[in-house]
Amino acid sequence: MTTTYQPATPIWCAGCGHFGAQAAIVHALRVLEIPPHETMVLAGIGCSGTIQNNLGTYGYHALHGRVLPTATGVHLANPDLTVIAAGGDGDGYAIGMGHLVHTLRRNPSFTYVVMNNGVYGLTKGQDSPTFQTAGASLDFDAVSLALSIAASSFVARGFARWSDQLNRLTVAAVEHAREGRGFAFLEVLSPCVTYNDTYPQWEATLHDLDATDHDPTDRTAAFDAVSRLGDMGRMAVGMIYRDDIAPTPVEYRPHPAAADVTPAANAEAYAAVLDRYRI
């Protein structure tokens, strides 16, 4: 057995929602029997951007806001890996917002877990784009954004304290991506107990769609539910939308990391390229 790095103890405050998000990821990898060496967890910058240190998988600490393009590159180059991108709302919805839109549009098959706490914790309490004044609905709602992009294929929201549901959603997200169905976007409402303790506020306003007859394959119904709840100052959690397209068979996925680049295997094809330039 090769000894490698020792997974770290989380740096988070006692009671931080991120413990719930991490537990759900660990649960999903265990339930789906994905070995750590086939998993790559990429994290952004911020408190949530330390999650990769705690898991024992291949881990990567991205530049601030760039976790999605990096994860896209990893996934496209080696689709055999189970890729999980993770980060906070500052990372994903402020500095990295542009990439979220385009990742939803491209729909690459990896999972993105956003730990949304409405605040910049690591830099000690500045407002993030999802900071809420008491009682108001989300100023910025990433779930609505994701639903508005026609290519989006998996949109879910969990709450760090509701661990059974969060576990289910995380398993579903990782499965969705592994089957080549596309980008699994999972927002986890993950309160910051130090700078923005929204546990009581969220607990009182969340509406569990999984406990209703909501049909998650109906995008219009998802839009309808999310916006009507928003008007009432409430937020939807659960399996909000998932495309019911068939999985992409493995043999149809290009795999650059496995390409045979030896000159022997390519000599004829390279020569044919050169011939196009002969005069």
Partner: protein, 590 residues
């Protein structure tokens, strides 16, 4: 008009110009094929406005039997589709130059032209519409006249046209042949009979050649070195690399992707590179600015990537279609913190191919960023060169660990401190090779660690990687007289004019020793020694602040021997212009 004298040419400078969309490139391409049949080697450039259609657009072409790598001093032949073309080209025209003018809108403006220039006025556009019903046929019509000018037989001109349009539907080719023959008829009216024009083409040695631009050659080099992932964002003058790899990589099991911006482009490439896939991104100065954080991250996190900068005139958005070499400071010094990097600078399509492959290999060897620095002229101008030596490229893997090696190792540390600075690398997917990759300072395990001793050990380890490959970095191209007391040095697009200016200067009694470095950073001993071993060295570069000269001086090149020859007007040097600049400076030195 009757033609008096006939001149035999082995070096022909041609400009075909009009409004963008006039089809100037078609005429120049046809002439290029014709010249190629006579053993001429081509140098093709363009001068365009930054817009899709319209604006002055010129195709510049030099054909020579010896093979030149820049435009010459004077134009021998101008094909002008409008008055603006004549106004712009007038100062370049040789005294015995020839002008073919589309006189559909009136006679040629001769006021600016040297009186000895011969002008043929032919209403191409009007004739094309009247006789052939389409304006576009003016190109084949115009080529008919050009062919007569260079004394080609009508049969040969027709073969060239057929060759060029071979991929088009037969009726299109036939219509163009009809247009060509109409061109012959108008040429007859001007006294230009077949095989009896004012110019006669010499015959160069027939050889096996390719005609390719630097951007295409660079992308090809990356491919042959095993490059299988590319991410980029469209930008002039780098977009051809994205276009080329989007077409080619899927055929080789690779992927090219157009990102939403340069930040995404470099980070996608970083992601792919971490899987062991040889990866690249390419952009120009404004994109390189956005990528600085990513490049710094490559250096810190130790991820192999090729980053191409096709430089254009700056600052900011500058002059997007014009060449400059003003990103040298940014490539060599840009980014946050201290990190090892390599900057390579090819000057010809052949070198673009070779250094594109070499950069891909060096990136693997140092597990870090390797820049390839081009300029608009090197990127987009096309040249006739020997076919690339495909057999000479061997993809290098660097220090990677196989599954077997990891399985039998007691432990695996991603950032193990080694004598050569390079840490053996287990790719994601390897059992037992789990690692933490980060741009933060970290210990050998990849865990964040800011302890002073660890910090110093890690910075030093990363720096050692450059020393490990230094001896293998590409040396420069040399020409001229090694015993000359006067040296000339320059990068990329300066090579062609410098080499040719050296001939002119020799004829004027000044011998020159020339060096065109292919490695910009680290500055090799070769460059410093070159400056030290000459009384004075002219540093030829396209920027206002003499960035390359300052770089040389900053690492020990004696600054009192450096003579600055800068140009920043967006136009490449002509050999005669450069020779004059140096002769003037020599006068001052006396």
């Amino acid at each position: 008009m009757t033609v008096g004298t006939t001149r035999r040419v082995n070096d022909l400078n041609v400009m075909v110009a009009g409004q963008g969309g006039d089809g100037s490139l078609t005429v120049s391409n046809l002439l290029g094929v014709l010249l190629g049949r006579h053993g001429f080697r081509m140098y093709n450039a363009r001068n365009v406005a930054s817009r899709i259609k319209g604006g002055h657009a010129a195709a510049l072409m030099r054909g020579s039997t010896v093979g030149r790598s820049c435009m010459g001093d004077e134009l021998d032949l101008l094909v002008a589709f409008d008055e603006e073309a004549i106004e712009r080209a007038a100062s370049w025209l040789a005294d015995d130059g020839l002008v073919i003018f589309d006189s559909s809108g009136g006679p040629a403006p001769r006021a600016n032209l040297p009186p000895t220039v011969t002008v043929y006025e032919i209403p191409f556009a009007r004739m094309a519409i009247r006789d052939l019903r389409r304006d576009l046929f003016k190109n084949s019509l115009g080529f008919g006249v050009v062919a007569r000018i260079v004394s080609a037989s009508d049969t040969e001109a027709e073969e060239v046209l057929q060759h060029r349009f071979a991929h088009l539907p037969e009726r299109v080719a036939a219509a163009n042949v009809q247009a060509l023959r109409a061109g012959f008829a108008y040429a007859d009216e001007q006294g230009l009979s077949a095989g009896n024009g004012p110019l006669v083409l010499a015959d160069g040695p027939p050889t096996d050649h390719i005609l390719i631009s630097g951007n295409e050659a660079l992308a090809f080099g990356f491919l042959t070195a095993g490059g299988r992932f590319f991410a980029g964002y469209p930008i002039t003058p780098a977009s051809e690399i994205l276009d080329w790899l989007e077409r080619m990589l899927p055929r080789f099991g690779g992927i090219a992707i157009q990102a939403e911006d340069e930040l995404a482009a470099i980070n996608m490439a970083i992601g792919a590179a971490m899987t062991g896939t040889r990866s690249m991104t390419a952009t120009s100065g404004p994109g390189i600015s956005l990528m600085q954080e990513g490049v710094s991250h490559l250096g810190s996190a130790e991820i192999p990537l090729v980053v191409v900068d096709c430089q254009r005139s700056g600052p900011s958005t500058g002059m997007p279609t014009k060449p400059e070499q003003s990103d040298i400071n940014m490539l060599v010094h840009g980014g946050t913190g201290d990190f090892p990097r390599i900057v390579l600078a090819p000057a010809t399509p052949t070198e673009c191919f070779e250094l594109g492959a070499a950069a891909t290999n060096f990136a693997q060897r140092i597990q870090g960023p390797v820049y390839v620095m081009l300029d608009q002229a090197v990127s987009q101008d096309a040249m006739t060169v020997e076919p690339f030596d495909l057999g000479a490229v061997e993809p290098v893997t660097g220090k990677r660990l196989s599954r077997q090696e990891v399985a039998t190792a007691d432990e695996y540390r991603r950032y193990a401190i080694t004598a050569d600075g390079v840490s053996p690398w287990a790719l994601p997917g390897t059992p037992g090779g789990m690692s933490l990759v980060t741009g933060n300072e970290r210990n050998e395990w990849g865990q964040v660690d800011t302890a002073a001793a660890n910090r110093v050990a890690m910075v030093d380890k990363r720096a050692r990687k450059i020393e490990t490959v230094r001896a293998d970095l590409p040396l420069g191209y040399r020409w001229g007289d090694p015993s000359a007391p006067v040296g000339m040095i320059g990068l990329g697009m300066e090579r062609g004019p410098m080499e040719e200016a050296t001939e002119r200067l020799a004829a004027a009694g000044l011998t020159i020793d020339g060096l065109s470095p292919r490695t910009v950073w680290p500055v090799l001993a070769e460059t410093i020694d070159f400056v030290r071993s000459h009384d004075r060295v002219y540093v030829v570069e396209h920027n206002a602040e003499a960035q390359f000269a300052h770089l040389i001086a900053s690492v020990g090149g004696p600054h009192d021997r450096l003579r600055l020859v800068t140009k920043y007007d967006g136009i490449p040097f002509r050999p005669g212009e450069l020779a004059s600049r140096i002769l003037e400076a020599e006068e001052v030195a006396k």
